[in-house]
């Protein structure tokens, strides 16, 4: 399987586009409706616990979860585990993205390299990370390193594909134009390839930002002594369901914030798109 046999745009947005042009009311409702659906979810949850259909250790009430959240925030445990996970997420993201950018650029430029490497890369991608995560623990220990490696591996493939697609998608007429100006390789890279590939690279970064969280948690699930993944495992073994939920929600917030940061960055870097049409 060749890398370029894969779909042109392997990325998809995490938010669903609303149809039609943004109308003032729609813009308002666009903000309001997500809050409303969150509220409904909470309400449903509250109703289920009030009906006492399930014991509290299976579905604790929202109040119990909130109480637990206040407790673990107060004693510093949540911050300890969240910051441990966040450090692993950010380092995994950085390592994975940088490696994918470098290798992706090389592959985009060299058909030979693509032919040599794509079987390995595709095999690596086809194997679930959770399956070989224990191997990584054996090789890199149960500390930060193996979490970074897991995160980097999970981030690597989509970012690599986006890099290859982005660099190969640089219009050949623009390449010819730069050649006709006697541009150096470096000038072609900086003035053409990077900005032309930027939209695809940034959508890769958005996907990677959320994947990095999954990678770190997988690492923590398999073996770790700190982090939100570790906390979830620990709480589950103690039937502390509210704590499990607190840790999971913290991960949700973390992933959403990372995605939001990447989106913000994208909007800034691609401001020309909004002004151009």
């Amino acid at each position: 399987m060749q890398l370029n046999a894969l779909p042109k745009s392997p990325t998809r947005p995490l938010t669903l586009p609303l149809a039609g042009r943004p109308h003032p009311f729609r813009r308002f409702s666009r903000r309001l409706i997500p809050l409303l659906s969150l509220g409904l979810l909470l309400l449903g949850w509250q109703v289920v616990t009030m009906l006492e259909l399930y014991p509290a250790f299976i579905i604790p009430s929202p109040a119990a979860v909130l109480e637990k959240a206040i407790e673990v925030t107060g004693d510093g445990r949540l911050w300890l585990h969240a910051s441990t996970t966040l450090a692993a997420v950010l380092s995994g993201l950085a390592v994975g993205v940088l490696a994918a950018l470098a290798l992706g650029y090389a592959i985009a430029k060299s058909v030979l390299l693509e032919t040599v490497l794509s079987p390995v890369i595709v095999a690596l991608q086809s194997t679930p990370v959770v399956a070989y995560a224990p191997l990584l623990i054996i090789w890199f220990g149960s500390g930060l390193t193996s979490k970074i490696v897991t995160g980097a591996l999970i981030v690597f493939f989509p970012m690599l594909i986006n890099t290859v697609v982005g660099i190969r998608g640089v219009p050949s007429d623009l390449r010819d134009l730069l050649r006709s100006m006697e541009a150096t390789r470096w000038q072609t890279f900086v003035k053409l390839e990077v900005p032309a590939a930027m939209p695809v690279l940034l959508s890769g970064l958005k996907i990677s930002a959320t994947l990095a969280v999954i990678g770190a948690v997988v690492g923590e699930f398999v073996s770790a002594n700190a982090g939100l993944g570790f906390l979830i495992n620990l709480a589950r073994s103690q039937y502390d369901t509210p704590l499990v939920i607190v840790a999971v929600l913290t991960l949700t917030v973390m992933a959403r914030l990372l995605y939001g940061t990447a989106t913000w960055f994208e909007r800034r870097a691609l401001a020309w798109r909004a002004r151009g049409r």
């Binding site: 219009p171 134009l177 006709s180 006697e182 003035k191 930027m198 049409r277």
Partner: protein
Amino acid sequence: MSARITASELAAAYQTPDGDTLPALGPVSFHVEAGSFVCLLGPSGCGKSTLIRLLAGLQRPSRGQALLDNHVIMQPSRRVGLMFQDANLMPWRTVLDNLTLPLEVAGVPKDERLAAARALLPALGLADFEAAYPGALSGGMAQRVALGRVLIQKPDALLLDEPFGALDAMTRERISLDLMDMWERQRQTVLMVTHDIHEAALLADRVLVFSRRPGRIAADIRVTLPRPRRLEDTYGAAFGQIAGQVRAAISRT
């Protein structure tokens, strides 16, 4: 300054996936005198664009050579400006930054290149658009930016590959007249591929008509109309005769 372009037994061929060689152009031999305006007409697929690529140094010939003055063209040169049917602007750069790109690549200091670009804007009819992004421009305006971008590097020769081919008739006529005005002041050597007999007869000193693939020169027609030319000249008998000659040459290919 302007440069003389020479094609000497110039030919190009492509490799098909089966390993066959497909002749695309020539061999052709011709001179384009320094400072003259030559238009190239021919059926589609006759190798006109290939010829432009060879002369631009973007592609190597399979036979013969292309010369700029007396130097064999081995690679692209800043002395030669290139323009395609598509404006090929960088959508992430404003009009002004697109115009200055060749100077930026050549290492011209920022204030100099901005001054040069701002000096060009009025003649291009883009005075109010320096901060606009290409996505906001019409096809005609985008092509004007592309024209400005080749002119700013003060090339000795211009190679234009159907530069106005994608524009509507009215826009096309106005922009070709503007090109003619600018050329009459600077007199770079121009080799322009076109599909439009009217455009060729109005702009050119000479019209080269190419045969079907592999393209060879089927006719070499001198346009003896006096300069400066105006649009009204195209309604005269002399113009009609030239256009008819070109038309007849194309019919014979």
